[in-house]
Structures are given as structure tokens and as C-alpha cells.
């Protein structure tokens, strides 16, 4: 195992993050604050409590998930797409490293960045609403797992993408709708029965539900099912990445 290489990639990627720290830090704080103003204060005041939790607090887990997922995907996809785009990928391909080490470096860095932003949003939220976290360890574990699995997914998108448009395509067309329709801002039980059934095909529902359970002890789906969903998603991403490197698809001609 070439741990020096993993470390080199990780440090290099994190330095990109620290170079734009202000942007990395300020933008999630501002967008979270805006969500609280709009959903929490303006709309939330007209919504009764959801299953015993004030609406402002209820949306916190969904908000965190929304940002963590999109940040993990965009950081990881950009991280591996950029070397492809400007040609520095030659160095990765000619170095004495294997696919696991490349993935550990890029995905590790992207997941760290997403985790950082998740924690920032959690902190910002705590300034707007009273937050209680019933299962803090489970909360942290869910957040870390989500960061990792979506960074893996982002890595796949970065390898697949052949231009910047494609890089944005999947996050925009698939992830954002799935997250918005995944119960981030409402409980699935508030939907008409047909939409409830449809919602259960949305993988994000399981993640948001599990994450919310760690805060309030209430969930749309059993917690075990949530864990199974995220484990399955992670395994699927790992499998695809393994295949990509084995075949050299889109990397080695």
C-alpha cells in the first residue's frame, strides 16, 4: 500500500479547499441561513409541529443532508475530472499506485470537505432553532457514511464526464430532485398515499429518514433499512469504481 501517495493526493486536494476557504465556508452558512428565513420563519410559522418537532428543527437534518450530498458529489467529481480535463492525469496513471489508493486520496478529501460543511451547517442551524440530538454517535456515523458514499458516487461521475456540462448534469437532473423529493422538508406521511409509495423508491428517503431519526428518534422508515440502504449504495459505488479501474474505462486508452 502506497500510503505516501494517498497522503499526497489528500493533502493536495485539501490545499485546494483551504485556498478557497472563505468561499467553502461562507456559502453554506449563507444558504443555510436563507433556508431558515424562508422555510423556518416565513413558512414554518404557518405549519404546525411535525410529529411533535417544530418545523424549523424538523428540516435541519434534511438541510444538512442536502448540502452534504451535493458537496460530496461536486468535490469528488471535480477532484478527479479536473486532472482529466487539464491533462495532469498522466501523473496518476504513471505513478506506482493502484485504484484503491487513488480513490482513498480523492474520495477521502472530498468526504472531509463535505463533512466540514455539514458540521458548519449544523452549527449555523443551532443558532436559529433549539436542537436536540438524541443519538449523537449515530448522527455522526450517518453523516460520515453519507459523505463517503456520495463522494464515491461523485468520483464515478467525474470519471464518466467528458465535459463540464456532463459534470453538472447528474447532480442537477437526478440528485437535486431526489433530495428535494426525499423528505428533506416534510415527512413522507404528509404525502397522499400514491406519492408515499413512489417515495419509497427514492434512495434519499432512507438516508434523510435515518439521519432524522438520530436527531429526534422519529423516522419514515425503520432505521435498519436506512443503514442497509446506505451500505448498499456504498457497495454499489465501490463495485462500479473497481470495474472502471479494472477496464481502464475513460482513463486509459
Amino acid at each position: 500500500m502506497n500510503l505516501q501517495a494517498v497522503r499526497a493526493i489528500y493533502v493536495f486536494e485539501m490545499s485546494r479547499f483551504f485556498r478557497t476557504l472563505l468561499q467553502s465556508f461562507v456559502s453554506p452558512v449563507i444558504s443555510t441561513s436563507l433556508y431558515f428565513v424562508v422555510f423556518g420563519a416565513a413558512i414554518g410559522s404557518r405549519i404546525e409541529q411535525v410529529e411533535g418537532v417544530s418545523y424549523g428543527a424538523f428540516i435541519v437534518p434534511g438541510l444538512i443532508m442536502l448540502s452534504v450530498m451535493t458537496q460530496a458529489i461536486s468535490n469528488a467529481s471535480f477532484g478527479i475530472y479536473f486532472p482529466k480535463f487539464i491533462g495532469t492525469i498522466y501523473e496518476l496513471l504513471s505513478a506506482p499506485i493502484n485504484f484503491l489508493e487513488i480513490v482513498m486520496g480523492y474520495v477521502g478529501a472530498a468526504a472531509t470537505k463535505a463533512l466540514f460543511i455539514g458540521v458548519v451547517i449544523l452549527g449555523t442551524s443551532a443558532m436559529f432553532v433549539d436542537l436536540t440530538i438524541q443519538h449523537p454517535f449515530a448522527m455522526l456515523a450517518f453523516m460520515v457514511l453519507t459523505c463517503l458514499s456520495f463522494a464515491l458516487f461523485g468520483f464515478i461521475i467525474g470519471i464518466w464526464a467528458q465535459n463540464f456540462e456532463q459534470l453538472q448534469l447528474i447532480p442537477l437532473l437526478i440528485i437535486t430532485p431526489l433530495v428535494f423529493l426525499g423528505g428533506s422538508f416534510y415527512s413522507i406521511s404528509m404525502l397522499p398515499p400514491v406519492w408515499q409509495t413512489i417515495s419509497f423508491f427514492n434512495p434519499v428517503v432512507y438516508l434523510v429518514s435515518g439521519f432524522r431519526w438520530s436527531f429526534f428518534g422519529l423516522a419514515d422508515v425503520p432505521i435498519g433499512l436506512s443503514l442497509l440502504a446506505i451500505a448498499g449504495f456504498t457497495a454499489m459505488c465501490l463495485g462500479i469504481i473497481w470495474l472502471i479501474f479494472k477496464t481502464g474505462w475513460r482513463i486509459r486508452q
Binding site: 505516501q4 501517495a5 487539464i86 498522466y90 501523473e91 486508452q253
Partner: protein
């Protein structure tokens, strides 16, 4: 001593049936500078890519320092540094950071003293905190070399190091290559500038259309294939070569003032003495004589033309 790089019957074909390499075999010796000479599209970059792991050969094997580049890629790649043809660098990064990254990527622990030595050698030390985008084209090329050297490789591949580079920088580059050879690095460079191969290589391999046409010591190559020309200046111009000299296959140049005779320096008898006597028998008066050795360029053009005739 076993060769540093052993290439055995390497083929590379693409999905559309194009064969970039048609069974290339080549040994590269420890400590030498080998120039891989060929026109654009000859397969030079493909061959380098196959050795460095950027592309998988369709068949055949490559080993570096005794390590197979596919099955023992860690051992093989750790020995190799690659300077690509295109300037591939992250514009916003700083020189020192990007060189440090390269060293780590190849599994070497951080060693800023070593990197300082490399950057000084390449006259980049003053630019260590500059962003890549602030550097001139020549400086960027040096950064690429610094990145390739950061992990102290034993074999360095330079893919067209002086393509599109001005004369001064080209000479700098040659000096750098000579220095590296002194440090014990084996160097393989591709080029389509014949003068470059002539100036710095120990051995020259000529590649065209995916085939190695020949591999030879530079000096041996030049004498083996070297045609010489004897230019005979005459006192008075003539309209045509006199019939009694027809057997020499000479041509007239400069409005009949110069007779040109081509001969092979490897023949035992070049016949020059006889020719001079016959010229004076023909009543022509000599004013001056010159001989000219063919350049590598002539040899190269001749080889490529031969291959095309054969095809």
C-alpha cells in the same frame, strides 16, 4: 549488464483497426541517452505510454529494471519519470507544491532538501512560490521535468522536450539532459528534430508507422549509412557531363561549374583517384575539391522513403 528497459514485441492496436505499434522490440541500456526519432504519428508517444503505464499494449511485454510494467507495475513505475509532450500543469498551483505532490505520489517521503536541489538545477528555485500560470512556457517545461525528477527516477522519458521551444531554451534543455546523464539517469527522448538526436544521443532508434526501422550507435549509424559527396569545381563551365565520365553517375550543379559525385564511405575503394585522373583526361581543369558527409537528416529521409517503397 541487463538492459534497463526491455521492450519485447509490443503491439498496440485500437478499436478502429489502426495499429500504432507493430511488434516493437528494443533494449535501452543503463545510463545511455537514446533518441527515438520519427515523424509525427510514427508511434513514439504510444511506445512511451506503453512503457509508463498510460496505455495497455495489446500484446508483448515491457520491463523496467527487471520489473514487468503490468504485473510488477509498482517496482517498474517507481524507477520511471515521465515528462509529457503537452504542458499539463494545474495553473493555480505553486511550483513547490506541485513538485512535492509528484514526489509523494511516487511513494517517496517528503524531502524538501532534495526538491531544492532539483529546482536549483533547473533554475526554478526562485520561482518555487510562483503560481504555474505566472510562468513562461520554458519555465513550465522545466516544472514538468522537476516533477518527473522529484522521486529520483533512474529512467527519464522526455516526450518531445523541445517541440515548439526557441533555440536558446533548446540548448538549455540539452545541457540539462547532459547533466542528468552525468548523474547516472538513463534518458529516452523522442524527437522529430534530427539535429537534436544528433546533438545529444548516444544511440538512435528510428521509428516510423509503428515499426522500429533501426537502432544504432549514433556514430556507427552515421558512418554505416553515411554517403559522402565529392564536389568538384571546374575552371570553365560545361553543358553536360562528358560521355567518357558517364559511368560515374555524376550530376552537374551551379550552371555547369560543379560536378557532384556521391559515394559510400564504407566501400574499400571509393575510386576517387581514378575519377580525378579521368576528369583531367577529359580535358577538364579542376579549381577546387570539397567532400560533404551526409547529415542524419539525409539518412533518416532515406530510411523512411525505403520503408514506403517496400510497402
Amino acid at each position: 549488464m541487463p538492459p534497463m528497459v526491455e521492450i519485447t514485441d509490443v503491439r498496440k492496436s485500437y478499436g478502429d483497426g489502426f495499429e500504432a505499434l507493430k511488434g516493437v522490440s528494443l533494449d535501452i541500456l543503463d545510463g545511455e541517452i537514446l533518441a527515438l526519432l520519427g515523424p509525427n504519428g510514427a508511434g513514439k508517444t504510444t511506445l512511451i505510454s506503453a512503457i509508463c503505464g498510460l496505455t495497455q499494449p495489446t500484446s508483448g511485454t515491457v520491463s523496467v529494471g527487471g520489473h514487468d510494467v503490468v504485473t510488477e507495475y509498482r517496482g517498474a513505475r517507481a524507477l520511471v519519470g515521465l515528462v509529457p509532450q503537452e504542458i499539463n500543469l494545474e495553473p493555480f498551483e505553486r511550483v513547490m507544491n506541485t513538485v512535492r505532490f509528484s514526489r509523494g505520489l511516487f511513494g517517496k517521503p517528503r524531502n524538501d532538501a532534495m526538491l531544492e536541489k532539483i529546482l536549483r538545477q533547473l533554475s526554478l528555485w526562485d520561482k518555487r512560490d510562483s503560481r504555474i500560470m505566472e510562468l513562461s512556457g520554458g519555465m513550465k517545461r522545466r516544472v514538468l521535468i522537476a516533477k518527473a525528477l522529484a522521486h529520483e527516477p533512474q529512467v527519464l522519458f522526455l516526450d518531445e522536450p523541445t517541440a515548439g521551444v526557441d533555440v536558446e531554451l533548446r540548448r538549455d534543455m540539452w545541457e540539462i539532459v547532459a547533466q542528468l546523464q552525468n548523474d547516472g539517469v538513463t534518458i529516452i527522448l523522442t524527437t522529430h528534430y534530427i539535429e537534436e538526436a544528433e546533438a545529444i544521443a548516444d544511440r538512435i532508434a528510428v521509428i516510423n508507422k509503428g515499426d522500429i526501422l533501426l537502432v544504432e550507435e549514433k556514430s556507427a549509424l552515421m558512418t554505416r549509412l553515411g554517403q559522402k559527396e565529392l564536389r568538384i569545381e571546374l575552371q570553365e563551365p560545361i553543358d553536360r557531363v562528358p560521355d567518357i565520365l558517364a559511368a560515374w553517375n555524376m550530376r552537374l550543379e551551379q550552371d555547369g561549374l560543379v560536378l557532384v559525385y556521391s559515394y559510400d564511405t564504407t566501400q574499400d575503394r571509393t575510386g576517387i583517384a581514378t575519377l580525378i585522373r579521368e576528369i583531367s583526361d577529359a580535358g577538364l581543369i579542376l579549381r577546387d575539391l570539397q567532400t560533404r558527409q551526409n547529415s542524419l537528416e539525409d539518412i533518416f529521409v532515406g530510411l523512411v522513403a525505403e520503408q514506403e517503397d517496400a510497402a
